[in-house]
Subunit: 484 residues, 4 copies
């Protein structure tokens, strides 16, 4: 159904429900599914007849991609499967046109440009919305033309490559905390951005919100300027302003100096951690070695707690829409499904792009059995399980045994601990894929090299790390409670 | 809370719920109200504490007016009423800014202009959305500059005055049925516009949709052009196009001729009906006399079946946002509440504008007791009850008596019949307002004259009409089933 | 559909929804009605076809009367109205059997009897559930055989006549507060019974709960004994126990003495108030005069605040299921509908029973227009509007005028005030019924006498009372916050 | 919280939700969870404060086990975790009493006994409700005293041992189809019992329904007798009837003869299949060998399609409440969770009972990763994966390879096929448990023997069967569409 030229991918769930004539009778898996999906979807409906299936699907596809994108649900009762219908009674629907594009009003654009020009400590935040809007070219131009520092949100990574000199991700907390003007491109001021509130931000920071969704504008803060419209189109409008009256933020400003210094010290701290020779490895060591071999055009999928959070700071994205992680909801269990989807897309496009799926050991437990699907379809996904034997923290084998002296695991094992030294790689070999159990940087390098070299089969690298490994010290906790 | 300069009026319902500590215990009026309002509102929430009331109210107001406007619900539990809170712990919120304005993309505007220029039988439909967007000036310029015929939807009436020479409301069915290009300004292709489908439209009619809501675009039809954005802003964009390359639709085209002829014959038929001398009066006679005296700047509120439908065709609106009727949902019972709101607004603005509330007798029954409120606040509303003793059709007194010979009213009276010759005007006099029982055009004229002359008190004119009176013959039934 | 022998009346709401083929298109009054009714009903469904209507209706009827009774919703889409169906394809359903009857287990019955026998200060509370279960004969026998004091809940009134010597309603607060054993017959420990908690009850009071609904047992308190089953059947089981080993509570106990004294003093206080000669009348004067003339077999319908609460203490019920009021939810607007239903039932049964509908003036405003229905069907209902010009408290005419000197009513009138001296009786005369505006006991007596004498027509008596009239002093406020 | 003597196990889900003060702000995992759980639970609530947690939990536990049992949801917001509360402000709740017991009314019991006595072709169906009600002793007595044939539903298995001579499970379709009187003990007439309708039943079959839930009675059929109450108590009432006037159904009746003959032929057919020597094995061979070694007191957990359906007919239950399967909803993914719960119970009770979890390969894929939990807690569960390489039907390795010649697996593999010869046993060995890959009866026997012998560790036996293996021919399809 999706238009060949369509840049957006509708997200439609088709559900099968019980036979209509048996409803209220206790039919097989009878449930009010349309109603149950209401809270989770932009549009949830059951076609009233086979004849109306095309129009319902058209509306679901359209609702999914027009306006702020979202999932839609279409319910197909079991009896539809065998019903016959006169082909002439069906009203066929063409696929909808690509999403309509709207722009911000000119006066707001001017005001935004003025606020940016007057910023002492400007910052751009590039969100998932910018990626969906395919605004990468425009935003990059804006960053480079105006020489502005930027920061991606987790799934905004890659809209501009992470290694761009203006990326200040390595000084994230500092950048958020002291910026006086922040331009949000499709980034919501939710928990991921600490609601836009002190102490993570200046109390008088001026937000410029660029968003496709009017109702998003003004959430939690009173923005200085709101730019409602397609993010790509609005970015171009901003660029025109800076074309007319060129301006650039002084690269030698004290703000840039502050940010660069903080980045340098943060990067040094990370490198220090990464270069530790002690075994088991820590997170930074693991991710630095992974990053070294990561193909520039690969998809990075990730889920977990520290694994996802630390991995995100080290693993670089160079292309937009090539990072898929647990997202705003922090939902575990999405990783392997995302990896399969990305691999199928790469296959369909025949780009030879690889999919690297970086999983915490706990996260892998939610959907690990999908390796069967990966092997069945022979998708050359590389699964990394960063294994600390637990959630946030686990035990090593010896401590585990020591603990068991005090009682049965059901009574003494803390709920955050998983079985130490689980051989997750065997979950892959069970289905014919390649498995590696790695404990040293060298083993990690070698297994990665081999996995990348083999473009015909999946592999899983089970990477043992220090069970007590944590993040380096942070200025703020990730979920710092803002003063609300 | 509403900003002094705000042109939009948020619709927030504040509900009181039971004391929180008694929830699940069977508290007084305990019910999951936030959940129950979910389906009916854009935003439904209960503040988690007194401290968060301001931010919840701010979000409700903002959600109500940003994007497509809609109602929001805020739930206040009973125990909040007596709780004390440190004033410093409350985070006060300023009122949100006026709704952000977005525009259509330039290429779509060009395409729309081209489609309009090439139209053989163009038509503009002006919807409620145009009224909400305060697009009256722009749309009027467009109509006049391009000499295009237009049609208002029920609550789009008055965006351009109904007596504008380009208004083809009197040839509505004809205009819809044969137009080859239709521009929708904030008008949805729902049942009111017969879904945009044959037989009420040409199968190949080209729709240009102008709307603030992306998900509305493409509903039921595949539009030729979609213009997503604030309707006022988009209209100005269109005007700029026709400024650059002026164009006007030939006033002597056969399309204009067709429309004018149809209007003439329809108007003649209406006038013919209106001039009938027989008593009881018919709808047209009533409305023609009302229209004669209606102040140009009055608010017209209306609900009912034929009363609302026929009244709409005869009673003219000259100002935007001055007609309030049962709306898309066709909900009965809203009339008196709408009238009170309009009267309070007129009072607050001190404009001396009058409110005329045109009610069917059945419709009046839904909220007639609100006359107490009207009288309590001494609002000079003029209520017209167009009384045919029933819904669609009633009995006259004699027929009613005749019928009762065959049995008790509970067994013989059709459910659509109301008590004949009810003295609704006494519902007004019961509370000190003025009441009129009118049976002739002369009585109607006189009572209206008196009611309008008295700017200090409400009145109710109970207008007896022929119980069997109906609409004049229509090309299509209002709810004609489209071929879907 | 209701079985001729059925003692229960199913409550089914049949709703009309929009045409199925237009769903999601913006059909007339399109809404997910089945889903919207879910929270309000025991069963909410739309038949999947005309053929399944009988089975859905059967299930709705059955669900409504089996187990704890409740409302059910059945949705009929518009297109069903004109659909044709082969009569042989319909599976006709017989009406369900009367609700199945269950009994408590024998050991629990024994335990309950023992607890009752050992009670020092026993109390029976007779709830709505006892009325629904038609347990009047059994409960009366139990009360009389064991000589126990009892108390009805608002809609449990009449299960045993209110003037029964064992009724201690006039000492309600005292009885609740000091009882050591309380037997609940179909009465829930919700807000109406102050959740069964101190300070309204002894902390160690022993509750014996008799209920048809297992999930109700144990709500808010830990009962001493639970008797799950049909209340009528369980009552008979208890009676058998006391048949086997007769026992009666000593009529000369100090508990009976306390209760009788409190009743005497309360009744004296009420009589004192009732006999006040000052005008305007107070609530007690009004209700004592009404009570004097009230036919023993009449239906009493009531809603309002003080009107309902005080009226309930004075107006006596002698028959079960003959009192209908705002109920657990305290929903205003139900009065006239209830009165019409009761009047239709009396008519159908040809019992000549009258319906007295006692309305507060504010309550009457919610559904006052239903007098048209009453007049249309010529139902000899007697509507009493107890008019204090407000909710809880209003102004008299002079004070109102005085107040208006300080500003417009919209700005100075408190929200709880209604227009003084509204002539609600004219809302009745407007439709041909009889209206009385009464200000003195004599006028009240006379108007009541006339209304009762006329069995062929409805009347409305608008009874002016002292706007500042309130309840006599109470030991506890009605909505006293229990320590929860 | 659960009472030590309690025979029922409440099912409460405690969910963590986001911090209350951040609601509507985009908090971490913010979602209206209480509302979302409404459709899935008997009771869904969030305590309004820490102080109310005990009473909410008490109500959830009580709601879960009183009346028809069901799941309840309690929501705990994140901020509760760190809140402090004065211990004296908490109202502690004792655990509720065991569920109240109700009985059927005596007249209905008499009527039921009479109907049974007059039956020509009687049948008892023993449902899950009988197991929950712990009615095993009474029902067994009834069966034996009256010499009646009986049939268990899937989770009613074991209430009476499957090898009881009166069990006619092997003639299920025949028994249902020709019985003239059917007594349902806690068994619903839903899809599992084909709605109680022809052609699976005689049109005039007389149903006697014994159920705890009034609203269940009369679903889909008009029963001859309804016995509302606790199934155990009602069974005892029936027994008393047959004690008073003993009666037994003649063991030499033609009905018994018919049933026995059908059982014999069905069992012969199964044995014939079970004894086939060809490899890969078929379902019957596998289950016959499993059945041979199954300890009498083990828990049998099962999910899958054919695996569950065929397994149920061969694997015997000797104890009530010792079979857990996908249940009424047919939900896949519950198996390992059920197995863990059963193993923890056996451990807590120290009975040495084993848990055998019989999984289809597809079903195992839903929750296979739970083997980590099993190994972590070292629960001696025996997992059997009955592996046919697909859902209903799969490919063998050679056919799979053949198929891949025609294209990529993503394009040519049918969606019902899984990867052939997956080594599911390695999913177990990955976590330190024992794994077996078995292809012959001998290997199966040996691996089972070893697994049963080792009471200290879990094992997984991956049993390869014929990918095209199916059920033996059936008189009716399982989901036969009844004439409704």
């Amino acid at each position: 159904m999706a238009n060949a030229n369509m840049n957006c991918w509708p997200l439609i769930v088709i559900g099968g429900s019980s036979e209509r004539s048996q409803e209220t009778m206790g039919a097989f898996q009878e449930f009010p599914q349309v109603e149950a999906c209401r809270l989770y979807s932009k549009f949830s409906a059951r076609p009233s007849s086979i004849e109306t299936i095309p129009s319902i699907i058209e509306k679901a596809v359209r609702s999914s991609i027009y306006g702020r994108p979202g999932a839609c649900y279409v319910d197909i009762p079991a009896d539809f499967v065998n019903l016959q219908v006169n082909v002439n009674s069906v009203r066929y629907m063409e696929c909808c046109m690509p999403p309509p594009v709207s722009m911000a009003e000119t006066s707001a654009i001017c005001m935004a440009a003025t606020v940016i020009r007057n910023a002492k400590k400007p910052l751009l935040i590039i969100g998932k919305g910018a990626a969906y809007a395919r605004a990468e070219e425009g935003i990059r131009k804006l960053v480079e033309r105006c020489k502005l520092p930027f920061l991606p949100t987790p799934m905004g990574k890659g809209v501009i490559p992470d290694n761009h000199p203006n990326c200040v991700a390595a000084a994230r907390s500092r950048a958020l905390q002291f910026a006086d003007v922040i331009v949000l491109f499709g980034a919501r001021l939710n928990w991921i951005l600490h609601f836009g509130l002190p102490p993570r931000y200046q109390p008088d920071v001026k937000f410029i919100q660029v968003d496709i969704c009017a109702e998003e504008l003004g959430n939690n803060v009173k923005p200085a300027v709101t730019l409602l419209g397609d993010i790509n189109a609005v970015t171009k409008q901003l660029l025109e302003q800076f074309d007319k009256t060129p301006w650039q933020y002084p690269p030698e400003s004290s703000w840039w100096k502050t940010l660069r210094e903080k980045m340098k010290s943060n990067e040094a701290a990370s490198k220090e951690l990464a270069s530790q020779k002690s075994l088991p490895m820590n997170y930074y060591t693991v991710f630095y070695h992974v990053q070294e071999q990561l193909p520039r055009d690969c998809f990075v999928v990730s889920e977990g707690a520290n694994t996802m959070d630390i991995g995100r700071t080290v693993l670089q994205n160079y292309l937009p829409r090539h990072r898929l992680d647990a997202g705003t909801f922090g939902t575990m269990g999405v990783g392997l499904g995302f990896a399969i989807a990305a691999a199928l897309l790469a296959k369909a496009r025949n780009t030879g792009q690889r999919v690297i799926c970086v999983e915490g050991d706990s996260a892998f437990g939610f959907s690990g059995m999908e390796v069967e699907t990966i092997c069945r379809y022979n998708l050359p996904i590389i699964l990394l399980v960063v294994n600390n034997n637990g959630i946030y923290q686990g035990f090593d084998v010896d401590s585990w045994k020591e603990m068991l002296k005090f009682g049965d695991a059901t009574t003494v094992a803390p709920p955050v601990c998983l079985l130490p030294n689980s051989h997750y790689e065997q979950v892959m070999t069970a289905f014919g894929g390649k498995g590696y159990f790695v404990q040293t940087p060298e083993e990690l390098q070698k297994s990665l090299r081999e996995s990348l070299a083999d473009t015909t089969a999946p592999s899983l690298i089970n990477i043992m790390i220090e069970p007590q490994a944590t993040r380096k010290a942070q200025d703020f906790h990730w979920l710092t409670r803002s003063k609300v």
